[in-house]
């Protein structure tokens, strides 16, 4: 019955390690609930997810998770101030129409927030663009310009500057190198903006 112990994707396992057991967690764009289910079973969190796709919502509810179907911009609004200990937005910020508003709402309903996204200034992307003259297509962002759901691209540096401009605090940062959304990966300490495929941030007001 329980789907407690499948190995978690590497980036999600980093997020999992940051979450205090027993806390209240909101997952924005939670997909099929892989991370929320892991947090519920392994960290005993009280979970809520928001997901727009009916089939994914059904999968979440089927595995016993609390999930609201809808657009993250709208659905995050009703929750009371500071209701959640963590609000997680994993691999979704690059698809958000108004990232500033989302981050604002995340830090209103949550005491802190976790944001992760693919790093668009990884060396392979820089190289591909120079060499081919095409907009890059990578394993992390495997779409053509005309069919990509990722309406904005950013680097780790961009996010740090964004934090200063918008006025939130970066409490923790993990620059990671992981391939094909797999279970293994490494943290990148040297030249992260060039060498990391993803950035994960714990942020606060």
């Amino acid at each position: 019955m329980s789907d407690a112990s499948p190995p978690l994707r590497y980036d999600l396992s980093i997020i999992e390690s940051w979450i205090t057991p027993g806390s209240r967690v909101l997952g924005l764009g939670c997909g099929d609930g892989e991370l929320l289910a892991a947090l519920k079973h392994r960290k005993q969190v009280v979970e809520t997810g928001i997901e727009i796709d009916e089939a994914l919502v059904a999968r979440c509810i089927q595995r016993g998770l609390t999930v609201v179907q809808g657009d993250i911009n709208e659905e995050v609004k009703d929750y009371p101030d500071g209701f959640f200990d963590y609000v997680i937005c994993s691999q979704t910020l690059q698809q958000a129409y108004d990232p500033k508003a989302i981050i604002g709402e995340m830090l209103r309903v949550g005491k802190c927030a976790v944001v992760s996204f693919p790093n668009f200034c990884h060396w392979r992307i820089r190289f591909q663009m120079m060499a081919s003259g095409h907009v890059p297509r990578t394993r992390e962002l495997p779409f053509e310009w005309y069919d990509t759901p990722n309406i904005r691209v950013l680097s780790l540096k961009d996010f740090r500057r964004f934090a200063k401009e918008v006025g939130f605090t970066i409490l923790k940062e993990a620059a990671i190198n992981t391939q094909d959304m797999g279970n293994s990966g490494t943290e990148v300490r040297l030249l992260p903006n060039i060498r990391a495929t993803y950035g994960i941030y714990l942020i606060g007001r």
């Binding site: 079973h41 919502v57 016993g64 609201v68």
Partner: protein, 377 residues
């Protein structure tokens, strides 16, 4: 484990409440009998009971699996039974007829002890809350303090919300399907057309028609209005379109020549045989009065639901225009604002409000997962 129900004769059971029932409007009903059916077995600590609240013209016969033979299928046959979405191998399932109805529970066609004749319109106006307080008395009678879940769609969903508001300590979890937290002007309007159709039938006789001819035409037209609200533009287009019934050309008269007309006439005529016109007046009125919000916060129920982490599931259907998705979302919003553990899913369906009664793998999946929530931990 309880005795084996399978050996008992199938069918309805009856319970007469002890003492009069005080209604929300202050009136008293001296005697109330409630008709109900059950499936499955109540476990030793009485923690596996699920109450199903039926919709406007439904009844307690949610499933026909109880008896060995001769049982007509129930109105939720596809969802209730062994191994189904509401699994009677796991849960003890109860469905009772609502107060004001005509399927065995006290209503306008019941005998008024004072006069010895049917109440008719001397029956007091009842509310959704009144229906629920009768259900709560039945739960007392069955020895069930706390329900594992209360589940209902449409007017049944309103009862679910009323349970949450008036008996939060008795609700272990709640499922509200295709419903609303307050009846909209559109819904009231449809109901009023249905009521006026009955009231303007010459056989209605101010509601005292029992023993004489029934207001069949009025009730039948009322049902036709109802069926329009249960379908959708899309459903009617694909089901009937502009197709003609039993003819190839227009007849240029007022017979039912379009298929959709024929369908409505059939539904209307069929309904007259099984439903009481006065009951439709009372139940539509109860739905029209329904607004869950006043007092929900003030009586502490929302806080209590949040603190007890009572999980709630709201489900809407894309083509439902009687209780559209936005109205179901209002319930979700209310629960979220007060910290209640609420899930929501909007199911893609073309068949309108009726969708919640039709076989649906999606809803089965949702209910199975939701009802077994605690087993996932």
């Amino acid at each position: 484990m309880q005795k084996d129900h399978a050996e008992e004769p199938a069918g309805k059971e009856f319970y007469t409440l002890e003492g009069p029932v005080t209604l929300e409007n202050g009136h008293h009903l001296p005697e109330v009998t409630v008709a109900y059916e059950t499936w499955g077995h109540l476990n030793a600590d009485k923690s596996n009971a699920i109450l199903i609240c039926h919709a406007m013209t439904g009844d307690s016969h949610a499933a026909g699996i109880k008896g060995a033979h001769g049982q007509a299928p129930g109105w939720w046959e596809t969802m209730v039974g062994p191994g189904k979405g509401i699994d009677t191998d796991t849960y003890f399932v109860i469905c009772s007829n609502i107060l004001g109805g005509c399927m065995g529970t006290t209503g306008p066609s019941s005998i008024n002890a004072v006069t010895g004749t049917p109440y008719g319109t001397d029956f007091p106006v009842v509310t959704i809350h009144d229906m629920v307080q009768v259900q709560a008395a039945l739960m007392d009678h069955l020895g069930i303090q706390r329900l594992h879940a209360v589940i209902g769609g449409s007017v049944g969903g309103m009862q679910v919300l009323s349970w949450c508001k008036n008996y939060p300590e008795r609700v272990g979890s709640a499922v509200a399907l295709a419903t609303t937290m307050r009846h909209s002007a559109l819904s009231i309007a449809f109901n009023e057309v249905a009521r006026q159709s009955i009231i303007s039938d010459p056989h209605w006789s101010n509601g005292h028609y029992y023993g004489g001819e029934k207001p069949a035409m009025g009730l039948s037209v009322a049902r036709m209005v109802g069926h329009i609200t249960y379908l959708s533009d899309e459903a009617m287009r694909s089901k009937f379109g502009r197709r003609l019934q039993h003819r190839d050309e227009f007849s240029f008269d007022f017979d039912d020549e379009f298929q959709v007309e024929s369908y409505l006439h059939y539904q209307g005529a069929k309904f007259v045989d099984r439903f009481d016109a006065n009951s439709l007046l009372y139940i539509t009125k109860a739905a029209d009065y329904f607004d869950i919000e006043p007092g929900f916060r003030e009586n502490g129920a929302l806080k209590r639901l949040a603190e007890s982490r009572c999980p709630m599931l709201v489900v809407s259907y894309t083509s439902d225009w009687l209780y559209p998705t936005y109205q179901n979302r209002e319930i979700v919003g209310l629960m979220k604002r007060h910290g209640v553990d609420v899930s929501f899913c909007e199911i893609e369906a073309s068949c309108g409000h009726d969708a919640f009664l039709l076989p649906s793998d999606r809803l089965t999946t949702l209910l199975t997962g939701f009802l077994g929530k605690e087993r996932h931990v």
